[in-house]
Structure formats: structure tokens, C-alpha cells
């Protein structure tokens, strides 16, 4: 019995320890996979720099609860107007399932995951190209979720600020710019 209790205690506690295993982040181009979950680079930068969003992004977070019966598990959000590139972060998407108009950050905060992005071309008779000659599309986010996340009140936020990031790799940045790549791409590549 004593040995059994000892083994159970050890397993429970080692399990508790392993739940704190750190994330593995893989990035290629604008896509980031964090422990298998896919984000855009812009989304991940916001999550990374906000400890609460980091918690939110992890499965098994204390704030994550199962979806109550009758609540939607899938939804979609579409831009209100046509764009010739993926819209900026402050764009509010019109969402189904009673979600209303949400930015991408708000969509993530509510526990939704963007499974993929669909481009919807204009119907016949509508303007098909932007003034700079790029094709216009509506952008539709296809969402799913397995949990409901409740963001803690501000008072519950960790008092410890996130550690300061080392910043930009200046030699990498100059090398990248020197090879003729765009500044936007180089700044994205050369951040620690």
C-alpha cells in the first residue's frame, strides 16, 4: 500500500510537472505553429507578448471550460468590404453564430481557432481589381473551438510583467536588407 501510494503520488506530481512543459514554436514564412496550433505571425507576436494570451493559447488552461450544450463549435467571420490583401489587425469581421463584429485578436480571445482563410472573389459586375491592379476579395475566416475561454478580470492578471525580449538581431537585419529583401520581411525574420 505504501509503495502504491508513493508511486501514485510520484506519477501525479510528475504529471503536474510535465503540464508545465514549454512550447515548441516553428515558423515558416507568415505561419507559426505553437505546439501544433497554427497562427499567423502577427497573431502569434501578440499572444507571445501577453502572458494572459499565452495561457489562453495553451490547452488545459485553468480558464478553459468545455463548451456547454447548445453553444456553437463552428463559425465563420467575413470582411465587410473587399480587399486586395489580407486586412490589418484592427479590421472587424462580421461573424456568424451570434458573435457580432470582432477583430482577429478578439476572436482568439474567445477561444476560437482559425482553421483556414477563404478568399471570396467579387460577383459578376462588381469591381474586380484595386487601384494598384491587385485582385479584390472578401476574406472569410473559418473558425472552430473545443473549449470556451473566459478572460480573467484585470485584477487577476499576473503582477509579473513579461520578460523583456532581446529585440532585433541587427546583423541579421542588415544582411537581409542587403540581400534585397523588403524591410517588412527582414524585420519579421530578424526578431528574437
Amino acid at each position: 500500500m505504501n509503495r502504491f501510494a508513493l508511486a501514485i503520488a510520484a506519477i501525479v506530481c510528475i504529471g503536474a510537472s510535465s503540464s508545465a512543459v514549454a512550447a515548441f514554436i516553428f515558423r515558416s514564412g507568415d505561419s507559426v505553429w505553437v505546439d501544433g496550433k497554427r497562427y499567423t505571425w502577427e497573431e502569434w507576436k501578440k499572444i507571445r507578448d501577453d502572458p494572459e494570451l499565452v495561457k489562453q493559447s495553451q490547452e488545459g488552461s485553468p480558464q478553459a471550460k468545455p463548451i456547454p450544450p447548445g453553444q456553437p463549435r463552428a463559425a465563420s467571420c467575413t470582411t465587410a468590404i473587399y480587399y486586395d490583401e489580407f486586412p490589418s489587425d484592427d479590421e472587424r469581421f462580421e461573424c456568424t453564430a451570434g458573435l457580432g463584429a470582432l477583430t482577429r485578436e478578439q476572436i482568439l480571445q474567445k477561444g476560437w481557432k482559425v482553421d483556414f482563410v477563404e478568399k471570396i472573389p467579387p460577383s459578376a459586375g462588381q469591381l474586380a481589381q484595386s487601384p494598384r491592379g491587385m485582385p479584390l476579395n472578401l476574406y472569410k475566416l473559418i473558425l472552430s473551438r473545443t473549449t470556451v475561454y473566459e478572460r480573467p478580470a484585470p485584477s487577476q492578471k499576473s503582477p509579473v510583467p513579461p520578460a523583456k525580449r532581446p529585440g532585433t538581431d541587427t546583423l541579421c537585419l542588415n544582411d537581409c536588407l542587403g540581400s534585397g529583401a523588403s524591410r517588412a520581411l527582414c524585420e519579421s525574420r530578424c526578431n528574437y
Binding site: A9, A20, A23, F24, D169, N174
Partner: protein, 448 residues
């Protein structure tokens, strides 16, 4: 019963200690790890001529082979790599990078001999893993300390000021290029190096690198220990490193950047550079082994009209035993203007100027470089380019470049980046001075 409770409590305590009591040790091994895969592809179709117009009489025989217009397909500074970081706590990270050149259009193999001098053996394989900037280091609020190999801070400090980088109009045909060959000694990657990169302090930052010579030869005539080639290129072998092989290298760059202004001041030093190979038939010791250095100041400014102006002034020096034989000391300058039209289009203009050297070692293959002494070996490079950006990752470009050498000059096109370089040499490797090289190139780039 009491004893049993005590044991269970002890077991739980051990388990808790396992889970929570050792985080200071466990946490260090469990920090976040980020890994990024990235790359850059640049290919072009070029047509160039060496413009050799001289030759035909006495000591100045005509060139051998085809020296006129030649089309080619070139892979230019294409590479891929992975880089990442591993959180070790306290805001510090282990940082790493492994980057490799990829020869997309040519067959991968040892470096093409025309990157240095024809006839030189070069064991360097550009397409081998970690052939480009690769390192392991520690980064934090203090900046970063790294070990490995990298483009020197001196080189990178002005890399962004060359809108013709890796094209046939790359500024390295003149800038950082002491002898005018397709080897820019002061625009180089330094292997077996350690360096420090400071954080930005109100717009200012500093990078400093030291690469030990690690050479058992007293005159740096051997390969550096652990390296397949002479340091600085130009051959391979024990005792044969006499075409620019040097010992310790030091490279420092200070940068100030705020809003539309970017300015830099940089210095690089190569200890005891062995150029005995240039002595040819001249009395021994006139060229010899001597320290070489370079310094430059560069300014980039973006005007509200979306006009970017780049200016670089450079001074390269060699403490030569006899100035009459010194072709490694001169001034250089670069002026480039980029006019952007919206986000997608830009037109680039460039002018590079190489000043006259105190002398030259003689033994040249033709014309005025047959005998040592002072000659007019200045040169001017003119470049014109257009670039269309499809988006932030892809573009296509067209470039015209023209290198106008004075009578004793033999500056080339495409040094330090363009896959196929064009130099002063005919099919037998004889160098003709005073030629006007020119060419056009159309290519495309994709980065991720």
C-alpha cells in the same frame, strides 16, 4: 498507522518537490524553443561583355577566346537556413542559426575559380551546410554574444545602402575591394569568429567582431587551423597562402538610426596580410606581408518624396614596405539614389568611384601594368535599375551596369554576390587593364 501516514506524506512531499520544488533546475531545461525556416532565391538572365579593346602589339598581345557579349543564367546570393532561440530564463535566450548558400542554376561544387584568380585552387564549397552566416550564442537585455561565422559588421553596416546588391551592379566591384578583382577583402564573411551585438540605445548600436588568425605560419602562409582554405580566399595549402591571407581580423561598426536617417561608422583590420604572390619578378620584400585596414562612413536618408539617398566614403590602407608597389591603398565612394513610386515600383541609380593607388606591383599581363610604379588605375561604375515588388516577398528587376576603368584599372562586375562574375581576364587568364565592362540583367527574387 501514524508511521504509514508519515510515509505517504513523505511520498507526496517527494512528488511535490519533483513537480514544483525543482523548477529552478527544470525550468532552465524547459524554456520555450522557437525555430524558423527561411530563405531567399534570386536568379537572373544576364548578357555581359568584358569590353577588351586593347592588344595586338609587342608586349600587348590580343586576348584569347571570346571576350565579347555572353549570355548567362546566374544564381545570386540564394540561400536557406534555420534560426531559432531557446529561453533560458531571466530574459535571456540561447540563439542559433545555420545558413547555407544554394546554387540554384549552377551545379554545386567547390567555389568557382573566377571568384578569386583563375588557377587558384579553392576547397570552399558554397553549397555545403552552414556555408553562410551560422552561429550559436546568448542574447538578452545586454545584447548578444555569438560564436561562429558571419558577414563582418563592417560589411553589414552599409549592406542596406546598395540597391544593386548581388546584381551585376553590386557596389562591391569597387567598395571594400582593394585590388579590383572579384574578391572584396573588406566586404567579407569572417569564419571562426566571436562577436558582440549591443542592444539599441536610443537609436545607437554597436557590433564588434574578432576572428583569431589561428595560423601556425609566422607570415600567415598556411590555412588557418581547421579551415579548408587560405583566410581571405586566394588559394589553399601549407605555405601557399600568399595572395591576401591574413591573421587576426577585427571588425567594428557603430550605427545610429532614427526615423528616416541611418548612419554608420565602421572599421576593419587584417593583421599581417601576406601578398608575397604579387611580387612576381620584382625584388623580394617590396610587397611582402603588412597590415591592412579599412574604414568608412555611410549615411542613408529617406526624404518625404520617397527618395532614398545613400552615400558612402571609404578609405583602405596597407602599410606597404614600398609605396611604388602598393595597389591596396585608395579611397572609394558610393552614391545611390532610389526613387519609390508607390509600394510596388522603384528606380535606382548608382555611381561608384575607385581612387588611384600609390603604385602597383608590375608583372601585369598587358599595357601599363607591365612595370611596377604609379599608374592611373581609377575606375567609375555606373548602374541603373528598376525593381517591381509583387508584394513584400517577391519582386523582379532589371539592371544595367557599366565599369569604366582608366588605363591601369581592372575593376570587374558582379563581385561579392552575383553568381557569375565578369572580370578583366581572357580565356587563358590574362588580365587586360583599362577595359569598359558592361551588361544588362533581368531577374527575380523570392524571400520567405
Amino acid at each position: 498507522m501514524e508511521k504509514r501516514r508519515t510515509r505517504i506524506a513523505g511520498a507526496i512531499a517527494v512528488g511535490i518537490a519533483t513537480a514544483f520544488g525543482l523548477p529552478s533546475q527544470v525550468a532552465a531545461a524547459d524554456g520555450d524553443t522557437g525555430l524558423q525556416f527561411y530563405g531567399h532565391l534570386d536568379l537572373s538572365f544576364d548578357v555581359l561583355t568584358k569590353g577588351i579593346a586593347e592588344g595586338g602589339l609587342g608586349q600587348n598581345p590580343p586576348p584569347t577566346g571570346k571576350t565579347g557579349w555572353q549570355p548567362d543564367i546566374s544564381s545570386n546570393l540564394s540561400y536557406f537556413g534555420f534560426r531559432g532561440d531557446h529561453d533560458v530564463g531571466g530574459g535571456n535566450k540561447i540563439v542559433f542559426q545555420v545558413e547555407t548558400q544554394i546554387d540554384v542554376s549552377a551545379t554545386p561544387g567547390p567555389s568557382p575559380v573566377n571568384q578569386a584568380s583563375p588557377g587558384n585552387i579553392d576547397n570552399k564549397v558554397q553549397g555545403a551546410l552552414a556555408s553562410r552566416n551560422s552561429f550559436l550564442g546568448l542574447a538578452g537585455g545586454f545584447g548578444a554574444v555569438k560564436l561562429g561565422k558571419t558577414d563582418a559588421p563592417y560589411k553589414l553596416s552599409t549592406a542596406r545602402m546598395d540597391p544593386f546588391s548581388a546584381t551585376i551592379g553590386d557596389y562591391n566591384s569597387i567598395m571594400g575591394n582593394t585590388g579590383g578583382d572579384n574578391r572584396a577583402e573588406f566586404d567579407t564573411r569572417l569564419s571562426h569568429a566571436m562577436w558582440y551585438e549591443s542592444p539599441k540605445m536610443g537609436g545607437a548600436s554597436l557590433s564588434a567582431l574578432w576572428a583569431p588568425g589561428q595560423n601556425r605560419s609566422a607570415v600567415n602562409a598556411n590555412n588557418a587551423s581547421g579551415e579548408p582554405d587560405c583566410t581571405g580566399g586566394g588559394g589553399v595549402g601549407a605555405g601557399d597562402c600568399n595572395d591576401g591571407s591574413y591573421g587576426d581580423a577585427l571588425s567594428i561598426a557603430g550605427v545610429y538610426e532614427t526615423g528616416p536617417l541611418y548612419g554608420t561608422l565602421a572599421y576593419e583590420y587584417h593583421h599581417q596580410t601576406n601578398r608575397v604572390g604579387d611580387e612576381g619578378t620584382t625584388p623580394t620584400g617590396n610587397v611582402g606581408v603588412a597590415d591592412e585596414a579599412a574604414m568608412k562612413v555611410g549615411v542613408q536618408y529617406m526624404f518625404p518624396t520617397n527618395t532614398v539617398v545613400n552615400v558612402i566614403l571609404e578609405k583602405m590602407t596597407r602599410k606597404a614596405p614600398n609605396p611604388d608597389f602598393n595597389e591596396r591603398q585608395r579611397t572609394g565612394s558610393w552614391l545611390a539614389i532610389t526613387q519609390k513610386f508607390g509600394d510596388a515600383n522603384e528606380v535606382n541609380l548608382g555611381w561608384g568611384h575607385a581612387g588611384k593607388t600609390p603604385g602597383q606591383p608590375g608583372a601585369g599581363d598587358s599595357g601599363v601594368t607591365t612595370n611596377p610604379g604609379s599608374v592611373d588605375n581609377q575606375s567609375n561604375m555606373y548602374t541603373l535599375g528598376y525593381k517591381h515588388h509583387f508584394d513584400k516577398k517577391a519582386n523582379w528587376y532589371a539592371v544595367y551596369a557599366r565599369q569604366q576603368n582608366h588605363a591601369g584599372g581592372h575593376y570587374d562586375l558582379g563581385a561579392s554576390g552575383h553568381g557569375i562574375t565578369t572580370d578583366c581576364k581572357d580565356a587563358l587568364g590574362k588580365c587586360f587593364t583599362g577595359e569598359t565592362l558592361q551588361g544588362v540583367s533581368v531577374g527575380m527574387m523570392y524571400s520567405f
